[in-house]
Amino acid sequence: MAELDLLTSMKRIRAVEERIALRYGEQKMRCPTHLSIGQEAVAAGVCAALTAADLAVSGHRAHAHYLAKGGSMRALVAELYGKVDGCCRGKGGSMHLTDRAAGFVGSTAIVGGTIPVGVGLALALKQQRSDAVSVVFLGDAATETGVFYESVNFAVLKTLPVLFVCENNLYSVYSPLSVRQPPGREIHRVAQALGLSAQSGDGNDALAVAGLASGAVSAIRNGAGPQFLEFSTYRWREHCGPNYDNDIGYRTEAEFEAWRACDPIPKLEALLDAVRIETLNAKVEQEVDDAFAFAEMSAFPPEFEAFTDLTSDVSGAAHG
């Protein structure tokens, strides 16, 4: 059933990220890590509308999108540990995730950087007469980059099968929307003005997200061209790292508590039988235990791999 699948997806993200936060201080996960806790419903809801043949890209806060799209949890945790079984063999870390089998093409660390990549994937899908879609996960700050406008313009021009999913969590690091965008700006209306079919919704309601995403994906598959969905949501923890930071002055405890009251997980749990939730919780905790045990056991990559994968040649070094 849809509710259980959505809840499973969100709980997997929440549980692995809570574990990351718990163990981050051990200094074994030595990379900047941006947690999605509080924002799980967007990833879960959008990916519920997709198949493994559909493609997705994302940015620096990508654990949720990667997992919801079907990315391996073991390979995620091993990547954070810098191990050879990580999805990038330890070369990428938290901000560079990929699982091609699941259709998660890649996430990168530069804000806006994968927006054109997702549009280019859509160009390839269209040329190949595929009915798959490409999904670009982005945040509110990415809509301030030039490359966003350039990419959207081309997607609209060529009627490409791409779904832009904007998670508006109100902050870019510590900078609120008020210092970045004019008052009254609605991002989905900007998208509409650029020629995208655009809607907005509650990003903390997984069923609502899934409904909007399903409609948008169907429209794209039916040839309606690129779509844009804006979801309001909120990250609970600090921009980067495992802690809460409501005390440092850029946002208030009251604002955080108001958003925490909109936690997408209990909202869905209320619709399900308590025994099934217990079973699910146990299963998810077990998967997280397994992923961390896997990461701990995995070897570090051999030293020489610091110098491989530059180009298709054995050595890409200029002085090879």
Binding site: R89, K91, T98, R100, I110, G120, S312, A317, A318, H319
Partner: protein, 351 residues
């Protein structure tokens, strides 16, 4: 073989690739316009269709990222910029995504794409239509950078770039577009990496690339007529560099002169001199030398470019100086029959 211009050789290379593989696409500002990027893309849209050959929005950065995505999705894109200077808007996508994709995802994927950039010179191109910033790209691990001189190499390197597995920056100097040469027909490929030897001699090793290799060839022929023998190594590829070929020549001649159309500071010539000083010091009979663009942008007025560029007479004079011989290079100046700021009578501007 067919005799053709450099521009025609590039067009032939593009047409060959488009014909060979339906996943090849070709786009850029002006690619389908009546001028066809200096003739290099003329007629391709008519032959291969507007799904595969198309003009684009003025959005260099996104169109580069789109090429990366298209490549990850199985296409083989060729993106063209009528000036390298315009491509500077796409440095984020080139450096952070194209060059890194294979590495940062642990070798699980690569983005094979070709980015053609045309480099202007003279005839008023001025500060922002003439920059030879090839060293910027050659500095980046994960990119390949080629700068062909001869039409056959332009075609052969282009085909290797299109059908390779890596992002390749393909640099064409505008002054070479009308240069003519015998060019193999069909699917002709020149591997990316090895240099070409354009002249042979035992007294001096001259290393060059792109249009400067033409000036160097004039100088080498003039020097040979005056009893000085030069090896002229045309690099063809700036990353990777064919250092083994330079070493083999240097060990024999003991003298190294490197030419570079880029600025002196942080350039390719400096890199080669540093490498030679570090690894072949005992082979050097005299201090290695370089001739490069000055550390200043190219100005617009013809009065301000007369002394700006490295030309055959400067190369010959520097070579003679390194050999301690007296040589009057005036014949190299007086036999030039066209204005100093054009590559020949064929170039009447505007760009």
């Amino acid at each position: 073989m067919a005799e053709m211009s450099y521009a025609e050789a590039i067009r032939d290379g593009l047409a060959t690739a488009l014909r060979l593989d339906p996943s090849v696409i070709c786009y850029g500002l002006g690619v389908t316009d009546p001028k066809g990027v200096f003739g290099t893309t003329l007629g391709l849209e008519a032959e291969f269709g507007s799904d595969r050959v198309f003009d684009m929005p003025t959005a260099e950065n996104a169109m580069t990222g789109i090429a990366i995505g298209a490549a990850l999705g199985g296409l083989r894109p060729v993106l063209t910029h009528q000036r390298l200077d315009f491509a500077l808007l796409s440095m984020d996508q080139i450096v952070n995504n194209a060059a890194k994709w294979r590495f940062m995802f642990g070798g699980s994927a690569s983005a094979p794409l070709v980015i053609r950039m045309i480099l202007g010179r003279g005839w008023g191109q001025g500060p922002t239509h003439s920059q030879n910033l090839h060293a910027w790209f050659a500095h980046i691990p994960g990119l390949k950078v080629v700068m062909p001189t001869r039409p056959a190499d332009a075609k052969g390197l282009l085909l290797s770039a299109i059908f390779g597995q890596d992002p390749v920056i393909f640099l064409e100097q505008r002054w070479l577009h009308n240069a003519r040469g015998e060019t193999p027909q069909g699917d002709y490929r020149v591997p990316i990496g090895p240099s070409a030897q354009l002249h042979s001699g035992d007294d001096l090793t001259v290393v060059s690339s792109g249009y400067l290799s033409i000036e160097a060839l004039h100088a080498a022929q003039f020097l040979a007529a005056n009893g000085v023998g030069c090896d002229l190594i045309d690099l063809r590829s700036l990353r990777p560099l064919d250092l083994p070929a330079i070493r083999a020549s240097l060990v024999r001649t003991g003298r190294l002169l490197v030419l570079d159309s880029g600025f002196a500071t942080g350039g390719i010539a400096g890199e080669i001199l540093a490498w030679a000083s570090e690894t072949a010091f005992s082979a050097l009979k005299v201090a290695p030398a370089r001739l490069t663009a000055p550390d200043a942008p190219e100005a617009t007025s013809p009065a301000l470019t007369e002394a700006y560029h490295v030309r055959a007479e400067h190369i010959a004079a520097r070579a003679a100086q390194m050999l301690g011989v007296t040589l009057d290079v005036e014949p190299l100046v007086s036999r030039r029959r066209f204005a100093h700021d054009t590559p020949g009578d064929w170039f009447k501007g505007p760009f």
